[in-house]
Symmetry: C2
Subunit: 226 residues, 2 copies
């Protein structure tokens, strides 16, 4: 595994980088144990990625060796409207959805969610972005402000157990996937889906856990086989 | 979510069930809080599933209401030769691979694995089987005895970053997928793959974490879209 760290800053025009974030300093010193002359990859939030050499550990100063723009994009533009489900699963989904090429995750406040917030957590963004240390996507996945079901766009695809199989080739981007909470949507929410011309889709007859269903749908959309 | 428990016993011919496993007793009493007259689903290791009513909490005795054989099978027969990777990821993969319709997981002892064992752990089997409480597959996923790279079958598919895209339609079952440890395979192991006519396959240009790559490949094989 390459030593690679995502930085919440632009790096394109910087020949030198001084790392100020304490957690990243910790990774450099304690995890990667870099010594002067050692190299590391940095990825900036401008999607530039470069090889840098540590020149001064006392000021955490690195010098650029080379730098290039990432260019790989997922084949489809997928927005995930994700209900507030159990916290550890919610965060696992953020991590994996980012690896699997989701464009945007918008937390969804539903009647039966066991928890919710109207604020965007810095932690969520961090989880989405740190996946870029592994994957090489050339875009920054986004986290949206949490919205209510009534604020969903028209023509979403509601991922449920009983629905039509998604006809991938005949739908246009962006693909808005909606995933409900553990207890499902309420009748009132289902009525809103009808008003918004949403379509119930499913992945076949098998019931999957929420997080697993999301892994499958993103795999199918963004990793087409022959 | 239905109340459903997997039992490591056959249930087809049993009109009455008495639950002796302490952990299952705990779930019945403390998690589901069943009272006499309440119903629950049990799934047996013979893949029969039934609705049962609690008739005597003091002896954990249930009476069958109805019972049927599960019949849903994944479209492909996939064996996963899984290297010993970080334990929590290893177990996450067992859970999700079972949901995603893997037929058999065979732990693989490699030179660069950070840990390994030659024994099959009861815990692994339990993880594989408890996924059946959610999914409705009509087969029992198996865990094999750990093997070494030299004992792999011929014609496996080695999942790597740089390889051919898997031509799903033109390969025959069983599909033997091999996944390496975090540090990759050694040169000696790569030579064995050549001798065994194994093919290096990949999921595109994106690097995925080991567990994520497995979710993707199983999704693509067992959950075909239109």
């Amino acid at each position: 595994m390459k030593r690679k760290i995502f930085l919440e800053t632009e790096i394109q025009n910087k020949e030198f980088l001084e790392i100020e974030d304490k957690k990243i300093q910790h990774r450099i010193k304690k995890v990667y144990k870099l010594k002067p002359g050692d190299t590391i990859f940095f990825v900036g939030n401008d999607l530039y990625e470069g090889i840098y050499v540590l020149i001064d550990p006392s000021t955490w100063k690195f010098k650029r060796v080379e730098c290039y723009k990432r260019s790989l994009l997922p084949p489809r533009e997928v927005n995930l409207f994700l209900s507030f489900i159990r916290k550890n699963n919610f965060e696992l989904i953020l991590e994996k959805a980012s690896e699997l090429g989701v464009k945007r995750v918008i937390p969804l406040i539903t009647e039966r969610s066991s928890w919710s917030t109207t604020e965007v957590s810095k932690r969520w963004e961090k989880i989405l972005h740190s996946s870029l240390e592994v994957s090489e996507w050339g875009y920054l996945p986004e986290i949206g402000t949490p919205i209510k079901v009534k604020d969903l766009p028209q023509n979403c695809f509601i991922l449920e157990k009983d629905g039509e199989v998604l006809d991938v080739k005949n739908i246009k981007d962006p693909i808005n996937i909606v995933v409900g909470p553990e207890g499902g949507f309420s009748d009132k929410e289902k009525k809103i889906f009808e008003e918004k011309d949403c379509k119930i889709i499913s992945l076949g007859k098998i019931t999957l856990k929420t997080e697993t269903a999301i892994f499958v749908i993103l795999s199918l959309l963004n990793f087409p086989l022959k």
